[in-house]
Amino acid sequence: MKEEDDATLVQRSLQGDGTAFGQLVERYQRTIFNAAMRMLRNTDDARDVTQTAFLKAFEHLRDYDPAFRFYSWLYRIAVNESLDALSSRKGGEALDGAEPDESPGPEGRAEGEQMGRAIEAALMRINPELRSVIVLRHIVHLSYHDMADILQLPEKTVKSRLYSARQLLREQLREYQGH
C-alpha cells in the first residue's frame, strides 16, 4: 500500500505537482531527522543532512528506479550524507552540548533515561559505518533486506556488521556499568 502511495507521489512530483513531494517530505522528515540525529548527535548537522537529503532526492528524482522502494533510496541518500558530514568534521565529532553525564545519576533519575544517555554516548564511540547499521535497525526499524538495499551490501555483511556493532556497544556499556 505504502509503496504504491510513494510511487504515485514520485510520479506526480515528476509531472510537476509541487504538493506531491511535500507529502513525501512530511512522511519521511521525522524518520530521517532522527536517523541523522543518532548518526551525528548534533541538531544543526542533522537538520542540514535532512534538508540536503530531500533536496538531492528531488533533484535526482528522475534517476530513482521505481523497482526499488522509495524510502530505501531516500534513506540511502540520508545515510551517505550523514557519513559525509561525519567525515568532514575536523578535530573530533561536534556534539550537541557537553559530553553527557554518564556516571550513575542522582537519585530520582529514571534508570531507563540513564541507560538511554549511556547508549547515545556509546553509539558515538563506535565506527560510523557500524553505527549506521544500528540506526537503520533500531531507530528506523528496517529489515535486514531493506538495510542491505540501503547500504548496497549483501545481507550477510549487514548481519555481520550489526552483530559487531551490538557487541561493541555491549562492551562500551559494560565499561560504563563498571564491569
Binding site: 513531494f21 517530505v25 521525522r30 531527522f33 534538508q51 531507563g112 547508549i119 556497544l169 555491549r170
Partner: protein, 222 residues
C-alpha cells in the same frame, strides 16, 4: 563464549529471525553455557533500550525550509510572450551579468578556489542556511535562499515576475548588483556565490522589477 554459531543464533533471536528448530538449538546452548546466557541477556536489554530511544522532534521550520529550497516545477508552465521572444537574449545577458557579478565579489573578497567561481543552478551537496520569501500578492513572487555547499556560501534566486528583475545584494558594507534574475533561465533559478561572510552577518537583498522597488529581503548567516 566464542562459538560463532551460538552468537549468530543469539543475534538472530533478538531480531526475531529464528525458526522453531533454531530456537530449540539456542535454548540448548543457553542452558549449557552461562557466558552465552549472559551475552543473550545483555544483548536483549541493549536492543530493547535501542528500540525505545526517545524520538527527537524535527525543528518546526524544517519542512518549510526543505520545500522552500526545492526548484520550482517547470512542467507545463506558461511563459510570457516577452520571454518566448527574447529567452536566448536574456539567457546570454544573465550569464554575462552573473559572471561579472562573481568577478566583482572576487575583487571585493579576494580570490578563492576555482570551483567557487562557478555560477549556475544549485549544486547537490548543499545545505540550506536561511530563506526569505516575498509576500504573496505582489507582482514579483518567489524566494531567495542562502545555502552552503562544497565551494562556500551562495544565494539562490527563485523568482517569477512579469519582467526582468534586478537585485542589489549588500553585506558587510559591500554591494553586489545582479540583473535579470526572474524568469530568465530554465529552470527559473540562479545562484550567486558569496564568500567570507561571518557567522551572524546579515545579507540584504533589494529587488527591483522594471526599475521599481519590488521587495526587500533579509537573510542571516547562521
Amino acid at each position: 563464549m566464542n562459538d560463532p554459531a551460538t552468537q549468530e543464533l543469539i543475534h538472530a533471536d533478538i531480531d526475531g529471525e529464528l525458526n522453531g528448530a533454531q530456537r530449540a538449538q539456542l535454548a540448548r546452548a543457553l542452558l549449557s553455557d552461562p557466558e552465552a546466557r549472559a551475552l543473550h541477556d545483555d544483548l536483549k536489554r541493549l536492543s530493547a533500550s535501542l528500540d525505545v530511544l526517545p524520538v527527537v522532534e524535527p525543528p518546526p521550520d524544517l519542512m518549510t525550509n526543505i520545500l522552500s529550497a526545492l526548484p520550482q516545477p517547470t512542467a507545463g508552465r506558461a511563459r510570457p510572450a516577452w520571454w518566448v521572444e527574447h529567452r536566448w537574449r536574456y539567457a546570454a545577458l544573465v550569464a554575462g551579468v552573473l559572471a561579472a557579478g562573481t568577478l566583482v565579489f572576487e575583487t571585493v573578497h579576494g580570490p578563492g578556489s576555482d570551483s567557487a567561481e562557478m555560477t549556475g543552478t544549485l549544486a547537490t551537496g548543499s545545505a540550506i542556511l536561511d530563506a526569505a520569501a516575498l509576500p504573496p500578492g505582489g507582482e514579483l513572487s518567489g524566494r531567495v535562499v542562502l545555502y552552503r555547499d562544497g565551494t562556500g556560501l551562495g544565494l539562490r534566486f527563485q523568482l517569477a515576475g512579469p519582467g526582468p528583475v534586478n537585485a542589489s545584494i549588500s553585506s558587510g558594507g559591500q554591494t553586489l548588483q545582479v540583473n535579470d534574475l526572474a524568469a530568465a533561465a530554465d529552470p527559473p533559478e540562479r545562484t550567486v556565490p558569496l564568500r567570507k561572510l561571518a557567522s551572524g552577518q546579515e545579507i540584504k537583498v533589494a529587488l527591483r522589477l522594471g526599475g521599481r522597488p519590488a521587495g526587500d529581503l533579509s537573510l542571516r548567516v547562521p
